[in-house]
Symmetry: C2
Subunit: 185 residues, 2 copies
């Protein structure tokens, strides 16, 4: 590895007493050694970075896989809930099916919650634009402005990150005295 370097040497120093080919060679080798050692250190540091990034990538891959899968399952969950809502639990003909579907839904929600999927069902809570999407505003003197009056469709988070916002109706402050008060007067 070092043989071709030897043939390259050119004496060019001014001080002939100390400037020998051997000293030139020593200086050259020292410089090369420095460079090679720095290279090894940089490679070791870079390897640390690669390892750390790899760990983060693994975590991200894990999260991302669950995020897509869980997100795609939400319409299935919606459909099951809608079926339960539409069936009358007091109808004796439907009771056992209704109970069966409720059991299935409970299993579904329990499984999702084991994978850190949580419902966003903010009825009566203050509107939070990070978790809720307003479909409509309604005046409602019985509520504080910006209260969720109705949840059209539940939202969901995964490990605290939003999978889907809750679709909601939000109260607003009356902009003016309501016209029907005038009519009654």
């Amino acid at each position: 590895m070092t043989d071709e370097m030897n043939s390259d040497q050119q004496p060019e120093g001014l001080d002939a007493a100390t400037h020998t080919p051997e000293l030139d060679r020593i200086a050259e080798l020292e410089a090369q050694l420095d460079e090679a050692r720095n290279q090894a250190l940089r490679a070791a540091a870079e390897m640390q970075n690669v390892r750390r990034r790899a760990e983060q990538d693994v975590e991200k891959a894990h999260k991302f896989a669950l995020e897509r899968f869980a997100g795609d399952l939400l319409p299935v969950l919606d459909s099951l809930e809608r079926g339960i809502e539409l069936s009358n639990p007091n109808d004796p003909a439907l009771r056992s099916m209704h109970e069966g579907m409720e059991l299935t839904l409970k299993m579904f929600l329990d499984t999702l919650s084991r994978f850190s999927v949580a419902e966003v069902s903010p009825h009566g809570e203050p509107f939070n634009p990070e978790l809720h999407q307003a479909m409509a505003m309604e005046e409602n003197p019985a509520c504080e402005p910006n209260t969720v009056l109705k949840v059209f469709q539940k939202g969901y988070t995964l490990s605290g990150r939003l999978l889907r916002p809750a679709m909601v109706v939000v109260s607003k402050a009356p902009s003016a005295p309501a016209p029907h008060i005038d009519e009654q007067a």
Copy 2:
């Protein structure tokens, strides 16, 4: 970096004409340079390995996350299917619920299949111990031995790997002439 090395030098050669402190130093530096360069090469090769392993880990993390999640969802799917099986589609009172549950099940299966989850429902197929688990054996002269006569519970694969075996009843060859033939003779 190299100063302490200089003070360590001990002239110990036998050939005084060619064995100078400078030549010792050159030999030492060349050896160190070789070592440092090898170290840098090894680090670079190791980094390639770390990168490759990291890619595999990401793929595995992705698969593993889906595998656990999909596996845990199977009882939900079973429960939904059982509910549909137990409800009579010809009962007018149940028809709309039955249809709704079938729609929900279809959405569920479609979503699972988008994530490479596939049913193992081997009714009438040859028994395959890699995908099926035999719950019972039954003599059945109408079938080849080792045929799946009944699927108790469907199995599922994820990207071709088994998530859960199908629970099945398998036909076996009649071990002896059936006794009731003797009774009839």
